[in-house]
Symmetry: C2
Subunit: 254 residues, 2 copies
């Protein structure tokens, strides 16, 4: 039996995305790597799972390296579920998701397929990290992230994570970031625009687009850190209970 940690790698941009290829290469230096990732891009899938449809999960080899790879027809959360229940012989020591092409800071954590995979692993009691780079380009420079990703990953493997907590790591676009900041999720939202168009047969349809607005002036947020060229690390929990409001709610006339 290998003494190296068993690491599950997934993402939401699809198994051929440069971000996950880099993450696989990095993880191969740390442990035994099994990849179960979507066969097509799944950005914005949030924590969707495939209930009323079938799934495929097929072994393949996308490129060189010691990893074992599977592509799955489902969402990132599906990938983690099928990896744990069907693909892997034992519970992995770590799940890493990404490197996402684009930000998952602030409220984007909620829409993020990358983070849903990490959260799904967390629900199963597996330490998990989502990595994202604030660069949507397919040719983004992932190489400069290697040292920090190794350091964060080794810290998680050595220290573990508390039950119910996973990490959301975002890298600024600059290759010369200043260091790492532990942050809270910034308060923000998307000012959506729906671009209305008319189809050739006269039917109205829309494209969703929008602009992210940071509503948070705090200097302890992920947005602040990223704007100031720090790597942001937000501990994320999936107990969504607003504990602070329970006492007040008990005074309501219900």
């Amino acid at each position: 039996m290998s003494l190296r940690p068993l690491i599950l790698v997934t993402n939401d941009d699809g198994i051929t995305a440069p971000g996950i290829r880099k993450l696989i290469a990095i993880m191969n230096t740390i442990g035994d790597v099994v990849v179960v990732a979507p066969d097509s891009p799944q950005s914005g899938m949030g924590h969707a799972i495939t209930i009323d449809s079938t799934l495929t999960c097929d072994k393949l080899k996308v490129d060189v390296g010691s990893q074992t790879e599977y592509k799955c027809s489902g969402t990132p959360a599906d990938c983690v579920k099928i990896a744990i229940r069907e693909v892997l012989d034992r519970k992995p020591d770590l799940c890493v998701s990404g490197i996402n092409h684009g930000s998952n800071s602030s409220v984007n954590v909620i829409y993020s397929g990358t983070m849903s995979a990490a959260i799904e692993a967390g629900i199963e009691g597996i330490p998990a990290i989502g990595f994202s780079l604030l660069d949507y380009s397919w040719r983004a420079n992932f190489d400069v992230l290697e040292k920090e990703i190794v350091k964060i990953t080794k810290n998680v493997l050595e220290n573990g994570l508390p039950e119910g907590v996973v990490l959301n790591v975002n890298f600024p676009k600059t290759p010369t970031f200043k260091g790492v900041k532990i942050c809270r999720q910034a308060r923000g939202n998307w000012e959506e625009k729906f671009d209305k168009r008319i189809s050739p047969n006269g039917k109205e349809y829309y494209w969703l687009s929008g602009k992210f607005t940071n509503l948070d002036k705090g200097e302890d947020t992920d947005i602040w850190a990223l704007e100031h060229n720090y790597v942001s690390v937000v501990p994320v929990q999936f107990d969504l209970t607003a504990h602070h409001f329970i006492q007040k709610l008990n005074n309501w006339d219900l």
Copy 2:
């Protein structure tokens, strides 16, 4: 201008589901109702949004009543976004989602399209409630929920909700529930089973199924309340920061 509150109604089972039809009828007694709901079932969609595809949003009238109705081709979160940005003239006073056919207690809040709609409204600063009944049947008895739904809704309209908090309301299957309990989200997970099959052309595929496991012995959880025939009300937040772990994380060597 109407003095009645403007209420946005949506769900994840689709605009023709009996659960939303009942919720529309109830809300018509409280305010001016606009429905923007998916044109097809969207269960398990989590907080998915439609990024790389188009959306339609068409006015229709499913049945009698004073409501205005639109069916949308997108996810529950898409429905709330397009309602706010395109359909409604002003910010609604309330958003209600459901009544879901099935439970959204415990960790199901994360996979839930019903709750993603409520959370999306919450992100936009709109007080929001998701209602679910622990009965998957299309012919579930929603009538017995009316009194409680009216009471909870009126409480939210009168008292408001703190910024960043929405309510997750689940009803036990029994029509004779004992009352309302304010709860925290129970710790639990799904023990998935992947039912492997072979297609007529020899290809392997899977159906995801599974059994929910409650890992929480607490008597202040939603699962406990529902098992003891209480209506569970969990205040839900979408700041996912695990604030309790920030200090410890600051001691890591990052």
